[in-house]
């Protein structure tokens, strides 16, 4: 795990390529025949990048995100994460890669309801084998970072939607990932709360962590340095802001 909070050090070689997708496609076998969700996408995400992926529903945004996050492997093409060919990695190696290098934020938070906010944040650190005292201390720091220090012992059912998403972001940052992937992180939130989450994600990105957000929300996308427009599984356009 790296030092800092969400908080990678922006001065430390953050521009190196984190994930490199070279002509990747993803085809799903369906009863009615194969469906190509992502077609021939080439994309590089470097340290400190802030990328938004937009497009109509079903255009392959989430599938691309899952491939960048090493959850899915490409059906064709090459996906390199930190120079490693993800397609050649075993499930266990990809799990380890996700655990240590990648953070996920989901639309529905997926916090575990039987654990407190602090325990939810500790989970990935526990899986990474961090000692209990260090996990506790880091979870406390992360809760402070997302502005929820006072809610450490609250269960998800005792938190608002925005608070749950902040805990989920803290959980995603637990092992100091190089890449943070967010799939519709404001999809379940009202405009004001969504803006707070967007600001928090900006802050994480400013700390040096590469950020890729899939969103329908133009306001959230406008905060990104690069906006990719997808249609029918392809990147239709890329706009730098």
């Amino acid at each position: 795990m790296r030092s800092g909070l969400g908080a990678r050090d922006p001065g430390l070689g953050t521009r190196e390529v984190v994930v490199d997708a070279r002509a990747v496609s993803r085809v799903f076998a369906m009863p009615a025949g194969p469906v190509t969700a992502v077609k021939d996408v080439t994309l590089q995400v470097r340290g400190g990048d802030h990328v938004a992926v937009r497009g109509p529903s079903g255009c392959g945004k989430s599938t691309l995100l899952h491939m960048l996050g090493c959850v899915e492997t490409p059906s064709s093409g090459t996906l390199l994460f930190d120079g490693q060919d993800v397609g050649g990695l075993s499930d266990a190696r990809r799990s380890l890669l996700r655990l240590n290098q990648i953070g996920f934020v989901f639309q529905r938070f997926f916090l575990l309801p039987m654990l407190t906010a602090s325990e939810n944040i500790e989970l990935p650190m526990s899986e990474a084998g961090l000692a209990k005292a260090k996990r506790r201390a880091r979870a406390r720091e992360l809760l402070e970072y997302v502005g929820l220090a006072a809610r450490a012992d609250h269960r998800p059912s005792q938190l608002s939607g925005g608070e749950m998403q902040r805990v989920a972001i803290a959980r995603a940052l637990a092992n100091g990932p190089r890449l943070l992937l967010a799939d519709e992180p404001t999809g379940e939130l009202d405009e004001s709360t969504g803006a707070q989450i967007a600001s928090l994600l900006d802050r994480v990105n400013q700390g040096g962590t590469a950020l890729v957000i899939v969103t329908h929300d133009p306001a959230l996308a406008d905060r990104a340095a690069r906006v990719l427009m997808m249609r029918d599984g392809r990147i239709e356009s890329e706009q730098a802001q």
């Binding site: 989430s62 599938t63 899952h66 996050g69 959850v71 899915e72 499930d91 266990a92 799990s95 380890l96 890669l97 996700r98 655990l99 240590n100 990648i102 953070g103 996920f104 989901f106 639309q107 529905r108 997926f110 575990l112 309801p113 039987m114 654990l115 325990e119 500790e122 989970l123 990935p124 526990s126 899986e127 990474a128 959980r171 995603a172 092992n175 799939d183 519709e184 999809g187």
Partner: protein, 401 residues
């Protein structure tokens, strides 16, 4: 948080479902435990009854363990047997029907067991009668008897009381004089059934009660070997070819082949049924639990939890449910066994001291092993679900849902 801690939290999260699983396992486990106690209980208990008193060989005129034929010239036969080098002592048992007078109510029907003096050979150690003294002392004189607790309570007898009885040694039509004997002890007769009443005394006491008309026959000769019952039995067979001699182990084997086989078969069938039921119960509960948490499990996998880890979580949840239920099943099983034992012992002809359910460490080991197997087998299907969970598709469908 390790897999066990995580599983514990998952159980606590759904207290109703967890309770259902634990109670189900406790109930099924109690039955399973009882079936294991039953499968060997009769054997262990019968062995205990046979071994009581230290007599390791039985000699009779017919098939052992039960035959109503008399051993002719039993006293002479016992004398010859007792003189064998591999035999330490022999004890002749003769039974007669008796009626004990009561202050109120009709006379009490009882069986009178007369045994030869427990020093038929020149052994150094005292020989014990085939009954156990509970209160008072053993009968040693021709005017002394011991009675079982039922006779004592029905006729209001205590050690020191006088008993008036008529014994019928050769024929029911005999009209014998009343005999007065002194009760010197209350005893437990190992092979006596709950519906029987028994009195014990010396052979001379029985002789006196029967008006000296006892004859030379006897029902059974108990023999104590010098340490090698097989050799002693072979020697007895050689010296008394007209009699049947068997070691306690052989008698037990015979009983096992005839009477107890049914209980073992019933026990095996019910054990299989209960284990299958436990497996189904836990499988269903775990599968429901896992299916309700697919989104969370997929999220954890996306966050880097390995396939092994999420499988371990499910296994730990199964182990916890079965473990807690299994622990509860032990006292529950013992309680149930005690009730069932009472009911089964009510069957006619069953010795009151015989137990159908007997605790043995081996039964506990098998119980634990079966529960471990249950936890493992029950978790197989839900473990398969989480191990094959498509992360991306599950996350997508959870959002769509």
């Amino acid at each position: 948080m390790n897999a066990v801690g995580f599983a514990w939290r998952s159980l606590v999260r759904q207290p109703a479902r967890a309770t259902l699983g634990i109670v189900g396992v406790a109930a099924v486990g109690a039955l399973l435990f009882d079936m294991l106690l039953l499968s060997r209980g009769l054997i262990v208990s019968m062995q205990d009854l046979l071994d009581r008193g230290g007599w390791d060989i039985r000699v009779s005129a017919g098939e052992l363990p039960v035959d109503s034929r008399f051993i002719p010239n039993a006293l002479d036969a016992a004398q010859v047997i007792a003189a064998l080098p591999s035999v330490e002592a022999a004890l002749v048992i003769r039974e007669a029907e008796a009626q004990v007078d009561r202050i109120s109510g009709p006379p009490l029907r009882a069986s009178f067991q007369g045994v030869t003096t427990r020093s038929s050979t020149s052994v150094g150690s005292a020989l014990r009668a085939p009954w156990t003294i509970m209160r008072g002392r053993d009968a040693e004189q021709p005017n002394e008897v011991v009675v079982d607790t039922d006779v004592a309570s029905s006729a209001g007898l205590e050690p020191g009381s006088q008993i008036t009885m008529r014994a019928s040694c050769l024929s029911d039509l005999e009209a014998l004089p009343v005999t007065r004997l002194q009760v010197v002890g209350i005893a437990e007769f190992p092979f006596e059934s709950t519906s029987e009443n028994t009195i014990g005394g010396t052979f001379d006491a029985l002789q006196a009660a029967c008006g000296g008309n006892i004859g030379a026959g006897a029902n059974l000769i108990l023999v104590r070997s010098t340490g090698d019952p097989d050799a002693a039995t072979a020697a007895i067979r050689a010296s008394q070819p007209g009699l049947r001699a068997a070691t306690n182990t052989e008698v037990l084997g015979q009983v096992q082949r005839t009477g107890f086989t049914y209980f073992r078969q019933i026990s095996s069938v019910l054990t299989t049924v209960t284990v299958s039921f436990a497996v189904l119960l836990i499988t269903v509960l775990l599968t429901v639990s896992v299916n309700q948490r697919l989104g969370e499990i997929a999220a954890l996998r996306a966050l880097g939890f390995s396939r092994t880890r999420v499988v371990k979580d499910v296994l730990a949840e199964s182990a916890l449910t079965v473990g807690i239920g299994g622990l509860l099943s032990l006292p529950l099983g013992l309680l149930l066994a005690s009730g069932l034992d009472r009911i089964l012992k009510g069957m006619p002809g069953i010795p009151a001291a015989l137990h159908f359910f007997v605790f043995e460490p081996q039964a506990l080991v098998v119980h634990v092993a079966l529960l471990v197997a249950t936890a493992l087998i029950a978790a197989l299907y839900p473990m398969r679900i989480v191990s094959r969970l498509p992360i991306a598709a599950t996350l997508r469908s959870e959002v769509m849902g």
